[in-house]
């Protein structure tokens, strides 16, 4: 009996595996990504070497000044040489102020609680939540990225809904990584609308009605943030220029700097 189960595993796994095909872009993307990372490592190594030289140079300067008679006036733009005083003692924590929490729930429940509009624990099971179209909200307190591209919406009653009626996919970055379309900047400050970065598009959803609008925005869009007046969305992509989407007319303008790193992530 044991033998037959193992044989069936061999056959079954092989059948599942042979159905998997390699996506056409995979090899090129994987190689490019590894090369990019190798270049970054090389840049870091060069930077570290320059930093070492700089410190050595400063040390030599310090020795040189000390050899002269008496203190010398130092030019304003000349940085002070690195000092090699005794190391300062490591920072310490007063253990009486530190409460150690073990994994059990009672210890967590005993912690002081700051009341906010958010429920004590955010529901995260997007898959089993009711559809937003069946259970509308006034405004959202939070968006939750679910498995794959599913999106959870926490209403002002603290309950979770599943965003439905909108076709969303996971974002795709130039290295081929896919992520949830929910990022920190997705939910507008008023909680009424949400924006989702998509490959070659940005999708804007009115969370109170469920209606959505798709804007063509070419590129590996991965991050978004709303303008305070909710009329524009700044869109970032790794390694590429950022753009500004005007919601009144769907215009897409290049931003003259790379805003990616300063955009809210995840």
């Amino acid at each position: 009996v044991n033998g037959s189960l193992e044989d069936r595993l061999r056959t079954g796994l092989r059948e599942e595996a042979t159905a998997v095909e390699l996506p056409a872009r995979f090899v090129a993307t994987a190689v490019a990504d590894v090369q990019l990372r190798r270049r970054r490592r090389q840049v870091r190594a060069v930077t570290a070497a320059i930093a070492t030289v700089a410190v050595v140079g400063a040390g030599g300067l310090a020795l040189g000044t000390r050899a002269d008679d008496g203190p010398q006036p130092r030019p304003i733009d000349d940085p002070a040489p690195a000092t090699t005083d005794a190391p300062s003692p490591p920072p310490t924590l007063d253990p009486s102020h530190v409460q150690r929490i073990r994994g059990d729930q009672t210890a967590w429940d005993a912690l002081p609680w700051h009341e906010t509009a958010l429920p004590r624990a955010l529901p995260t099971d997007v898959g089993s939540a009711p559809a937003l179209s069946q259970d509308p909200i006034d405004h959202a307190l939070a968006l939750i990225g679910g498995t794959a591209a599913s999106v959870g919406v926490v209403g002002d009653d603290g309950r979770l809904r599943r965003l439905d009626g909108v076709a969303l996919e996971r974002t795709l970055d130039p290295a081929g990584y896919r992520s949830s379309p929910v990022t920190q900047g997705s939910l507008a400050p008023n909680g009424g609308v949400a924006a989702f970065a998509q490959p070659d598009a940005v999708v804007v959803v009115d969370l109170t009605t469920g209606s959505s609008q798709r804007f063509d925005v070419p590129g590996h869009n991965t991050r978004v943030v709303w303008s305070p007046d909710l009329r524009q969305i700044l869109i970032g992509r790794e390694g590429g220029p950022s753009s500004l989407l005007g919601l009144d007319d769907g215009s897409v303008d290049a931003v003259p700097y790379d805003a990616y790193s300063s955009l809210p992530r995840w």
Partner: protein, 169 residues
């Protein structure tokens, strides 16, 4: 570096299908499988300069995939979410007297904990020995045997339960 790049490209081009299939069996999701393989290639890449033997490189990438997967599962609660969201398919095609062989094992394999699933994939798909499997997971042969036994017990129990259900209906 140029020679390394060419060798690396060659390696990725020739071995990715096989590695991606293993990744799919480990994750049960096409996109996650690609992410897993990509991550493993990057992890194995610093060692690439020192590796001239494609077989050794492949085994390094495979090891990186298994260990990355186990770390992902530790960090992300979605492994539990997923197990709950995709229960094993109880409904097998009706008819026929050979009940057991008609019930698919794969959905049950998907619900195994990551280490047990990794052992099942390495032992029965990759056909690795116990000691090769132990090396990849970084644990003892005894631990591999215990993961293996538990996984088989679970799979057998699921099969029996399914067969019972079918008999009842």
């Amino acid at each position: 570096v140029v020679r390394d790049d060419a060798a690396f490209t060659e390696f990725v081009a020739t071995r990715s299908v096989s590695l991606l299939r293993t990744a799919y069996l480990l994750t049960g999701d096409g996109h996650l499988a690609e992410d897993l393989l990509q991550t493993a290639l990057i992890r194995a890449c610093p060692l690439w300069g020192g590796v001239r033997e494609p077989r050794a490189a492949e085994s390094q990438v495979r090891t990186a995939m298994v260990r990355t997967l186990i770390n992902w599962r530790k960090r992300h609660a979605w492994s539990r979410e997923r197990a709950a969201a995709d229960p094993p398919e109880i409904a097998a095609p009706a008819g026929g007297d050979d009940v057991d062989s008609r019930v698919r094992l794969w959905p049950s394999v998907l619900t195994l904990p990551p280490r047990q699933r990794a052992v099942i994939v390495l032992r029965y798909y990759e056909d690795l020995t116990e000691s090769q499997t132990a090396e990849i997971l970084g644990c003892s042969i005894g631990a591999i045997n215990s993961h293996n036994a538990r996984a088989l017990r679970t799979l057998r129990a699921r099969l029996d339960a399914t067969a019972d259900l079918r008999r009842l209906s």
